[in-house]
Subunit: 359 residues, 4 copies
């Protein structure tokens, strides 16, 4: 393996990383992947609730894993994170908390991959409309929206990556190439998405108890789910003009997975499957994690669970001159943690796929 050097940092060592806020589902999935990542050394893992406990105790699944044998949860303290020698920090914190850590860690020279919503929006006003106050608005313009398939080069050099939300990833990847190509009427986009329950987090609300979710399917937070803000921001960039969409999220009785179905009117009724395929080939031909299934093939969440893949299929509805797009991803994977690692790989000059080609 002559290319082994590429898996290490410039000093030939593994890259030291911290996971800040690791006790939730995104944090757990991050740890799971980082434990198996060949170029990473986990030097700090924080959780206010679990500080002082070993990782094995909190996550029995990881019992015995070499990479965390001596790691225990510490308090989410900037100094302690810095002292660990971490070169990069993943923030798996709630929005409104992440921004308290990003600035100070950047100042100390760490590079930061934030999984929260805190740095995804370019426009402070939109942030405030959807999320409330922001403590570090000056970083909004520096942060790179971490969709590697769309912003690969910017991510490579970024100090601060705002890793996208789960719903947005499943919506943006199918839509962006087609909006760029102008083949859809962007004002007619309507989106129905379904998320696995891990998307609700490990909060102990009765609404997410097994008996409340099992044998249940329900919409929620329509028509103005918070993720709408970044969805429309990125769609507007792709379309070159403001895009406003309808978006209905649903909760489904699955651990991990997002299934998105998108309706949009065709700009030109003569659009062919070949033209759509060509647009995707152009956009994602070199992107190993986007799997374009082709016309008439509908993706299934079970085929992407615990992976970094997003699968995309479509069908042209000739009876209504509408395009129907379907995508599937893992909300904790491509929708959160593995996508964050994909950006990390790019930021540190590693092959984009290292640690992520899981099936």
């Amino acid at each position: 393996m002559a290319e082994n050097w590429r898996f290490m940092n410039s000093a030939g060592a593994k890259i030291k990383i911290a996971v800040v806020g690791a006790s939730g589902y995104s944090g757990q999935e991050l740890l799971r992947l980082l434990i198996m990542h060949p170029s990473v050394e986990i030097v700090a893992v924080t959780s206010r609730a679990e500080a002082g406990k070993s990782l094995e105790t909190v996550f029995p699944r990881f019992r015995g894993a070499e990479a965390i044998r001596d790691v225990e949860f510490i308090e989410p303290d900037i100094d302690r994170i810095v002292e660990s020698g971490a070169e990069a920090a993943f923030l798996a914190l709630p929005h409104g908390v992440a921004y308290e850590f990003a600035g100070p860690l950047l100042e100390k020279g760490l590079r930061v991959i934030d999984l929260s919503a805190d740095f995804r929006l370019n426009d402070l006003e939109v942030y405030e409309e959807f999320y409330g106050e922001h403590s570090s608005p000056e970083l909004l313009s520096e942060a790179v929206y971490g969709l590697p398939e769309i912003r690969r080069d910017e991510i490579r050099t970024a100090r601060l990556v705002a890793s996208p939300g789960c719903y947005p990833t499943s919506i943006l990847l199918p839509l962006i190439p087609l909006l760029k190509a102008g083949v859809l009427k962007s004002e007619t986009i309507a989106i129905s998405s379904l998320s696995g329950t891990s998307g609700a987090g490990k909060s102990s609300s009765p609404a997410f108890l097994f008996c409340e979710v099992n044998e249940s399917l329900r919409a929620y937070n329509a028509p103005k789910h918070r993720h709408l803000s970044e969805i429309e921001q990125e769609l507007s960039i792709a379309a070159g003009s403001p895009v406003c969409v309808s978006f209905v999220p649903h909760l489904m009785p699955i651990n991990q997975g997002i299934a998105t179905t998108i309706f949009a009117d065709l700009a030109d009724t003569g659009l062919t499957d070949e033209a759509i395929a060509a647009n995707y080939e152009k956009a994602y031909g070199d992107s190993p994690f986007v799997r374009v299934l082709g016309p008439g093939n509908f993706p299934d969440t079970k085929n992407v669970a615990r992976t970094n893949f997003v699968d995309i299929g479509w069908v042209i509805d000739g009876r209504t001159d509408r395009l129907i797009l379907c995508s599937a991803e893992d909300n904790l994977g491509k929708g959160a943690s593995s996508q964050a690692i994909q950006s990390f790989n790019l930021m540190f000059g590693l092959p984009e796929t290292v640690g992520l080609m899981n099936y």
Copy 2:
């Protein structure tokens, strides 16, 4: 209970009924409800596959039930059904088989409630486009589309009721009052529906094995699912002009339930929640099985499982001038078997709700 007489037939006895094709999921749910129905005597139950077996053997859930103690499956033979003395027959057969039974049973004086698609379409050509040849096209015009909330009076006097499909029921009940009122642009309707797996029937295809459905969510049969034919027929009647919609069905890992989410542009951007509520009140104020949850309340399939209710909620998406409608029903209940019994109750002068007010 002075009104007890209403629970019986004109001779003061229970009404004798046959269930033809009872070994599938709709048949099982029909039997479950008929076993507990106070005005019904089950006199014949047919299944080619299970003929000769007792009902208890095939359905251990019903073990010990008085109403089927001496009932065993017989071959689906017209003469034997007639000899049983049945006054009414429920046909829980596949499309293309039901029509072989409907005509002969009607001739013998039985009234027929057909749960298949065979008599739902008014137009033979549309039937042939979606389903193929029809053996009894002359009955298409006589059959009443059995949506009691829309055609209560016609059902009362019908000899042959074509009970609606599961997806159509969940789509038609929310849309019909609003199309009648003209408040939606009917050409913009896009529908995403999810069905519990019992909707796929008890066929032993590997695609519906536990491990293939559990932790899975996938679209299928878009853009031209067979149910589209009756959906558009009934929407067009309500709108007074042809309506063509986009419809994407999905399979979800739930036993019983349909969740439908509908997008449609507002005809007039000034439409209020009050106006929508008023339309529903007018349409369904006297319909005990339609529960209008009001604006911002999204129905949950778990609240209607094993009932005859359909729950409807909505939200006006002011950002896109679109209405988002959500409905939930049980695909085997209001979407099939309990709705068929609702029609049966009407046909035999029973209270519409008898045997169906289950929670």
Copy 3:
């Protein structure tokens, strides 16, 4: 229906009942069944957490139900319960809380069916060992352990019924007739039980979140689960001498259901299936809710979910001279709420099965 009078109280009216502590899963199942019970009027429903809310708001499944149209949750206050005119009270409270209500309600002349563990044990010392202090030990001797198949006559005249736990019911009903008959070596009994997650209650512990229970199976609380105390008490009574058993409960990813598998050495290796069947016939021939499936037939929780049935099967393991017993029930049904109503029916001279013959 000449026997209609039997459905009412002595004054010919429906029996007024209160449900105290109705916001959990047992309370919800009680309400579901009582709403459909023909001889009952629900006059008071209490919940500290939900006081002031309508039942429909808390339980959208019951929306529109006539029986609770004007009922709202009140504080769990003795006076208010008494003022409601309730003749009987169901206590669906945690152990250690129920005993605060039982005595005062009995004093006011109500009859009480307690679903908690507070009055199930005859021996105060055992109660204190398993549960801690008791505020009303004087009632322990009066309370009747409410297993109708075993204590039908005592229940009829009881003022205070201690309705059995979910695990105990699934264990006692298969074992008691065989211990009475002396066909098992009682010191060799080992029991593995699995409970649906509703058994854990509606508490919002992270351990019972959907993602923690789905795709998970785990034992817990062995070897000294609290239910062991009543299991051994009742087995000892049946055997006529002290019985001590091994018991391992497990949590399974199902909403409702208990599956129990019991191993016990045969007292006499010549024991036949016919002899076992005869013992069950003698014990349960007149008990409509015990369904004896016979040798080689293993019960399935799905056949008893949402019913008051317990299904029992067995097989003699001739290779080890051991009997293997399997039972299935609904932990919220025969294991809690419907069994409590069965006792209620007996206490008020109603047919034992009224409101409970659900399939």
Copy 4:
């Protein structure tokens, strides 16, 4: 990585392998792991049903995987397998079919890891009692029962490894060290096991449809499940005298996982947790895939799903002088496919853990 050479065969190349009978769940899991295995080249994959199709078509989850890019299913033909250059063959075939392939492939110089039951039993009579006729009884004595933790050295040099069944693995690993140590009364062992539904295979029996398994828990095939034969063979070897046990398998609504609970009387009532732990440490201290959780810690199937781990916990039931053992594994992992790869690693001088340290 100086030890990289160990990942290759003697010629320094990847080891060429064939998977015979790859369309079922074990085959799929084998392929999933082999695709990611760094020392393996997949050169032949057979399936009578899928011959001619690409692996991607049959298993959309593997879409795009480099390792199978040019691989398509071929007929299960000895000559074609040999022509592929395979050095080893995994047989993921039903019992009674595998033995048709093992002999001929061994003759051609391949080494064989058989996942079926065909070579697990030493005694032809026992095979015939449990499975029927055998075509290659002469291989029974050569085959090594492939439990690496127990027979590591024999496996290294074996030509034919009979990889253990899923239930047996979950039962043998907890019991063998304790039987060897003589701390249990071997005649009192009673076992209740639960298997995820993938254990039933991808056969399209209605019994394993989603709606039949979901919300269901049932015992089956007691008291003489076929796996009993190998369980008792291996327990007897460990105990040094014939062991006969009671075994009740159950089907549970989980994709992958086995949970086993074992009861056994203590040989000496003074047995301590420390003594048990010491026995396990002695037996498995060098076995990375056995995770001993210690007393009072009950394993959870979700922590071992998709891994090669078996987790073991226990509790001494002092009230009955019985030991309660609990284990959890993945029926497709340590119970089948990953365990087969563990043997493969040993047979080819690779580190035992390569390709298997997944979390």
